[in-house]
Symmetry: C2
Subunit: 247 residues, 2 copies
Amino acid sequence: MGIGAMSMPHLTQGGGLQFHNSESPKVLFFDVNETLLDLTAMRESVGKVLGGREDLLPLWFTTMLQYSLVMTAGRQYEDFGIIGAATLQMVAANNGINLDEKSAKDAIVGPLRSLPPHPEVRDSLKNLKDAGYKMVSFTNSSNQGVKTQFENAGLLEFFDERLSVEDIGKYKPDADAYDWAARKMKVKKEECMLVAAHGWDIAGALWAGWRGAFISRPGAQLFPLAPKPELAEINLSLISEKLIALK
Amino acid sequence: MGIGAMSMPHLTQGGGLQFHNSESPKVLFFDVNETLLDLTAMRESVGKVLGGREDLLPLWFTTMLQYSLVMTAGRQYEDFGIIGAATLQMVAANNGINLDEKSAKDAIVGPLRSLPPHPEVRDSLKNLKDAGYKMVSFTNSSNQGVKTQFENAGLLEFFDERLSVEDIGKYKPDADAYDWAARKMKVKKEECMLVAAHGWDIAGALWAGWRGAFISRPGAQLFPLAPKPELAEINLSLISEKLIALK
């Protein structure tokens, strides 16, 4: 999986992205899965129920994201983990692998709740908090799910608030989800910044009038048809440095 | 890729699905890509620009569908072919393959417009039309795109109307798209039946109050968290027989 210059051909050499303005965002909203927590830890459990086909992990994860939006588009809602298990069954069946519902759930729900943080995450969050930022998690995981995730990853203490799309019943990047999150925090959309390692999440936030900081983790790409965020770095540490410089 | 019993564990043996009612639908809406036209014909051109990685085709196609909904969720719209090219660039970059915008577009837009029909499609459409069904195509492709597709595939003559989500600016399976299509044809939602080879399309149609007929082509799976359609067969020929029996 390519990261760095190759995977971000749209960024100017030397990180020549500019802040929209020199003001610090009033609230930093952090996506959770893959942004803060390392999803590769699921590779083993998911690969195992797929008969060793770890190469199918990106297809499964993309299918899960697709179907979370299929439900929102169809005015339905189900828990993110349940959608994950259902789509894992679909990917398995398409590849001649027999996978029952319970095995699919066991492969996802447990591991999803005990993902480790990426190595730089704890220090970066601490530095941002010490610099005076108001910090909120904003995830497609359920309320109970993200609480357990943060407990297991030791991240609970860094956030002033935890927001889950469960409360509005629409998955990111639905524009209503960002509007709702800003309203919950009593700030204007232009005072919000999303930090995320998903091109679709950054796209949704910018289209909703938010500012954005993209973490270009392996396998993460900005969406070429969306506006570019003012920050894009390969890890949270580099992003936190630039944000702290604004304070 | 598994089809048949293995890929549809939720269907009873022997096709034991029941019609919701014995009345024939007033309008049959047909999805186009993969339902009527054979997408495997794109495997060659897409595989070629992906450096021979034809195994990435399902990941690319799923990413394209995901991002079509990302745009709808974000209240944006772009041509389906353009989204296809942008997401092909993303998949390429994630796999260490350099792919410029023009090459991505060339690999998709031309081949997408000259897909051949699946072998049973022409005869099945003719039989349905002869039986008196009102038939409408309803696609995520653009208006010009589907016209060219049908001209090239020799399917133009079978449809009373061609509907594209381009006119409403929201991709299927957004509930508004199905509502709009029913209104365009001046029929009630329960008088509509969608024929499609995508689990997400069938799910969206049923959630919008339509009836559904699923073609379980290789790589196609019903969504386990959606209601089951009254018809599910491995090709359009078998579906057309059951529909003609209702007339």
